[in-house]
Symmetry: C2
Subunit: 189 residues, 2 copies
DNA sequence: TGGATACTTGGTTGTAGCAAGCAGGTAGCG
DNA sequence: CGCTACCTGCTTGCTACAACCAAGTATCCA
């Protein structure tokens, strides 16, 4: 998935110096923000799962990383359906991702003793090791990027992003919250 | 594709209040940032191309929107290869995207009079109309999200994002800059 | 004529959703 | 008790998008 194509910085922020009196200035602001978001989104996507964080035959892609990540945060074993809600993804998508991880030995899967239909998923020891390696490797990149940032700046951008994520339309999928749900069904890319 | 799965805000920012003295606090900071970026990235992805911005048989997806966007910014007609560089995408990817848009009448394509191999691409009138509609519709969403933000806050997050995009590893594809280019070919999204 | 260049096409991978279906569980009814 | 009807958790098939690499074609230039 990748996000949206981004322009090179060379020509970034068109019309940046157009302080027109009309309401267009507002449009400029959101245009800049949209572009900046796209830029950063693509950069984050490119982080991927660095191959050097993986051992021999291991295969974890970006989605798999997030599955491991959530599984780790859950601590206890979770159901597939719960995991899908946490990831805000379709059950089928998560089902396939988990299958790969189980086959790779990174996730353990047992039948739920209390419900024969369900299964309980958890990180295996190997999965945790892989997760740690991948996470550290991604952290390194961010660390590198934030080298010149003051702690205050880091906090500022993080909280601003959290707020923005909160203010943007929520996912219609996992939890169809009552928020300003304008999301057209066809547009959901 | 979309970006990475995001956790619901309910459990966001684990360990947020752990101001440990050790270097671990730094890891926390980047973890929060990573999560926030993911959150926002997915929200932006969900923006998609609102169906109501499109007329009858028109079909423009997220990628197509960016092609139109760049084409608009270029003003003059551009070559496919130049467009691919601008978009930081593979030539083949852009070739297919453009073909769709040409077939849909949103982009005009003429042979370059000076080079029979090349073609010159430009927005058609209809393409411009569609672009305007889609852009406006995406703007509306961002406007809505930024309703409670002060102008200073908007500028702050935008410039912080621009800086972050600049500090993150560049795309290895379009311009394989010498920057901290560690990107494994297999891991690329 | 022999590269180099511009683009196209085929193939593959990754991500994701919807819909259909299977299997296991639960509840109502005779 | 046993049967039927329904509900739920998960899997699988299909479709679509996005992006890459590699191979092919057509054109230009030296």
């Amino acid at each position: 998935m990748p996000l949206d194509p981004a322009p090179s910085l060379a020509s970034a922020l068109p019309g940046a110096a157009r302080p027109g009196p009309a309401g267009g200035g507002d449009d400029d602001a959101v245009d800049h923000l949209e572009r900046a978001l796209t830029l950063v989104g693509r950069a984050i996507l490119r982080l991927g799962v660095p191959a050097h964080a993986l051992a021999e035959g291991e295969h974890v892609d970006r989605s798999g990383y997030w599955v491991l990540h959530r599984l780790d945060e859950c601590g206890a074993a979770v159901r597939l359906s719960d995991l899908a809600v946490l990831l805000e993804l379709d059950l089928s998508t998560v089902s396939r991702q988990v299958r790969q991880l189980v086959e790779g030995g990174l996730v353990t899967r047992e039948p739920d003793p209390g419900d024969g239909r369900a299964c309980l998923l958890a990180l295996s020891a190997r999965g945790r090791a892989v997760l740690d390696a991948v996470r550290q490797s991604r952290r390194d990149v961010l660390h590198q990027a934030l080298r010149g940032w003051s702690p205050a700046q880091r906090v500022a951008i993080t909280s601003a992003l959290v707020r923005l994520a909160d203010d943007l339309p929520p996912a219609t999928h996992g939890a169809p919250g009552p928020g300003r749900g304008e999301e057209p069904p066809g547009g959901g890319a």
